[in-house]
């Protein structure tokens, strides 16, 4: 049985095979950790990226984990969705240690609470940030920028 068949048999997962080396695995929020663990046992040892897409029209955050297997040369992308109003996910750093740092970044840039990762909430990249997290779609970058920094106007330009 090939690895793709094994992925197809994952519990509660919706599988989309986009190309032969790119497979999407969509799961519920509660099943993410179990799915990641199963995939790691199958040979997907590398977490390339963990990040978030702000699906503001659906009122959801899409959290995705890009896994790679050097044995099968396949990318598996595990996706899950959480509510924008109360975004809480569970940490994956017991399975993939590099997730620890990714989670710190997403919790700072999107304001997502990560349970079990004690470093989330500590300052990571931003310093003295007092606004809503900057990578959310409803954050107005131009407004923030013009309030906090002074633009240079060249001569003859209408202000």
């Amino acid at each position: 049985m090939g690895v793709v068949d094994k992925i197809k048999e994952l519990d509660g997962a919706k599988i989309t095979i986009q190309r032969e080396n790119r497979i999407f695995v969509d799961v519920d929020k509660d099943r993410v950790i179990g799915t990641l663990y199963s995939l790691k046992l199958m040979g997907f040892h590398q977490l390339s990226v963990q990040n978030v897409v702000d699906r503001i029209k659906d009122g959801k955050f899409e959290i995705f984990y890009v896994l790679y297997s050097h044995e099968y040369k396949i990318n598996v992308i595990v996706r899950t969705w959480v509510d924008r109003d109360n975004p809480v996910i569970e940490t994956a750093d017991k399975i993939y240690p590099s997730a620890h740092t990714w989670e710190r970044e997403i919790s700072e840039m999107f304001g997502i609470k990560v349970e079990g990762n004690e470093d989330c909430g500590k300052p990571f990249i931003l310093e003295n940030w007092k606004d809503i997290p900057p990578m959310r779609k409803d954050f107005d970058s131009v407004k923030y920028s013009s309030e906090h920094f002074v633009f240079r106007h060249s001569e003859g330009e209408n202000e």
Binding site: E127, P134, S141, Y144, F149, V150, F151, R152
Partner: protein
């Protein structure tokens, strides 16, 4: 022998200073890419007496290569205040000048000279090594004529600079 006046000492000091400038380059953005050809044999800035240097305490020129965000600005100010007088600041590229392509970013400051006194700007995205060499030549002229007085302005208007720094850095 007659003693030299203070003015004459300054003139001679400036004349010597402009021929031996050590530069610390704070490579925040993509601007650092243009420096290796400037430093090495292709454009060879050492023929003007300029040399890259590694520590802030011994350097004369602080070259800000590229955009500065709030986080790096804090470090740049530390580096600038560590440097000994006389010290000169060159803002490199359009990002240091007015924000450049990052004009709407939540993190990038738009005007370097509000926070530390810039003696000179090199406009362009990217400025070529010819432009950098030309800026150094221009800085030499400014030093020779005593117009490169950014470090004096910083001391004189310290309250203004500190207030601006406090506004963005908190």
């Amino acid at each position: 022998m007659e003693r030299m006046t203070e003015e004459q000492v300054k003139t001679i000091a400036n004349m010597l200073r402009k021929r031996s400038l050590w530069m610390i380059h704070y490579c925040t953005g993509c601007g650092a890419m243009e420096l290796p050809p400037t430093m090495t044999s292709r454009y060879d800035m050492e023929r003007f007496g300029l040399a890259p240097y590694v520590t802030s305490r011994q350097a004369d020129i602080l070259l800000i290569t590229g955009y500065l965000n709030v986080k790096t600005l804090r470090r740049v100010i530390t580096v600038y205040e560590q440097m000994l007088d006389p010290k000169y600041v060159i803002g490199f590229g359009s990002c240091a000048l007015n924000g450049g392509v990052y004009w709407d970013s939540y993190a990038v400051i738009k005007q370097l000279d509000r926070y530390i006194p810039a003696d000179l700007y090199i406009a362009g995205c990217m400025p070529r090594p010819e432009a950098i060499i030309s800026a150094f030549r221009h800085l030499m002229e400014l030093i020779d004529s005593g117009k490169a007085d950014g470090y004096k302005r910083y001391k004189r208007n310290l309250a203004y600079y500190k207030e601006n720094q406090r506004k963005v850095l908190g």
